[in-house]
């Protein structure tokens, strides 16, 4: 029960005078999750310093590893790939276990949530029907040159054109669009500037725009559950609070949160507060 623990952990937050630094990626969905952690912790008396929207993994991970950031919402697969070259594990629990194993000294991997936010290849419904596409491998059917659109880092990451060529034997061109699968990517997809885009599975725009997610039969994208990475400063009490949040964060819940951000254009903090209230974390 979060309330009971709240009473015991509150003093530990105040006494030690420690402030937990919560970070997030430069991506609105990740920021909402970070807000969830932060507000849940604050509700139990912890002091929190937010360092939100601080860029890509390669920018912030050194800061986490050096202890400058204490708590960060991550994704299991991509994080594992960051620490281990070409990991054999693909599925959710395997990946999670491997991740716990791979985490460097001083970092704790907390419980993963059910929610996943996995990179996925999407195409328009029209395009999928034209070439009868359901899986990534079906892209081989396409007889016109393909261009993939995604953030520029995908170009050299295993899930980008290089991985696609290696795992599926499909060659595609690449166009960088620095909006993380956002509106511009969708627009480019619909206008035919690109045919293939990397969009997160939790992105509400997939449903909104009637896009087709190509099934990744070869496991190019690792399972990507939301998972908090914590430093030693996150004590047992705090860990429990965060684990409770993860437990409540279902796949649909994350999509709903994201939808509020894009459709209602609400700030991350407001979205997080509403959800936490609903889930009984705040009162």
């Amino acid at each position: 029960d979060p309330l009971d623990e709240g009473e015991t952990t509150a003093p530990s937050g105040d006494e030690g005078g420690t402030t937990l630094v919560v970070g997030s990626q430069d991506y609105y969905s990740n920021e909402i999750i970070a807000e969830l952690y932060a507000q849940a912790l604050e509700a139990e008396g912890f002091r929190v310093d937010r360092q939100l929207r601080i860029g890509q993994r390669e920018v912030y991970m050194p800061e986490i590893e050096s202890g400058a950031i204490d708590l960060f919402p991550e994704y299991t697969g991509p994080l594992l790939q960051y620490w281990v070259q070409d990991p054999p594990e693909r599925l959710g629990d395997e990946v999670y276990d491997a991740l716990v194993e791979a985490a460097p000294e001083g970092l704790t991997i907390l419980d993963q949530a059910e929610a996943t936010d996995q990179d996925s290849y999407v195409v328009t419904r029209e395009f999928a029907e034209q070439y009868d596409l359901t899986t990534v491998a079906d892209l081989a059917n396409v007889d016109e040159p393909l261009t993939m659109g995604a953030n520029s880092e995908a170009e050299t990451r295993p899930n980008g054109p290089m991985g696609l060529a290696e795992v599926y034997g499909i060659d595609v061109g690449f166009t960088p669009i620095e909006d993380g699968g956002g509106p511009l990517t969708i627009q480019a997809l619909q206008s035919g500037d690109i045919q293939l885009a990397i969009v997160y599975t939790a992105d509400p725009t997939i449903a909104q725009n009637d896009l087709v997610v190509l099934e990744d039969t070869e496991g190019l994208f690792l399972a990507s559950h939301v998972v908090p990475v914590a430093s030693d400063k996150v004590d047992d009490d705090a860990q429990e609070i965060v684990n409770d949040v993860s437990e409540a964060l279902s796949a649909d819940a994350l999509i709903a949160l994201n939808r509020q951000s894009v459709e209602q254009q609400s700030p991350a903090a407001d979205i997080a507060r509403a959800w936490l209230e609903e889930e009984g974390f705040l009162d």
Binding site: D26, Y28, I54, D179, G182, L184, S261, P267
Partner: protein, 214 residues
Amino acid sequence: MNWLSQNLHIVGQLLVDHLLLSIPPILLSLAISVPLGRLAAGSPRWRTPLLTGTGLLYAIPSLSLFIIIPPVLGLPLRSPATMITALTVYGCALLVRGAADAFGSVPDEVRLAARATGHSRWAMFWRVELPLAGPVLLSSLRVVAVSTVSLVTVGAVIGIASLGTLFTDGFQRGIDASIWTGIVLTVAVAFLLDALCVVAARVAMPWQRVVSRA
């Protein structure tokens, strides 16, 4: 408007962040450029290396500068110090030449008259050269103020929060209002600082008013 009303306090915070990132580099580059500019104006031997050197700095793209500075100075990439240093470098790139021109614009007769009336070197700098360099210095400073405010936004690309964050965030989420707000506020901050420079200069240089009217 929906977006703006929901996000007022975030915008407010970013506005403050933006100011805190803009003002120090403007002041720092002024403080650094005035002595350098005086040196460049007064000594032909220093003039070329100083002006060429600072001129070349200006050719470095801002984004590159944000990236080059951390390893050179051992700063973390994503710190206000990086931003402030980079913008100070930019400010100096413009202002050293501006200050050199400003000191060069002090009429020789006035310098001569000041020497003839027994001004020491120190008195000469503070009482004669600096005030007379003021108007030209001001026009460079205004350019620096405005361009600094605008350049701060680029930091959002590497994760330094400012009004520029409204651009990257609005871009990802497809919220025009966020970008518009960012643009309008950036321009407003630029005009505000520009106006501050002008007002400060009017107070500091009362003779300018009559001279320009005359």
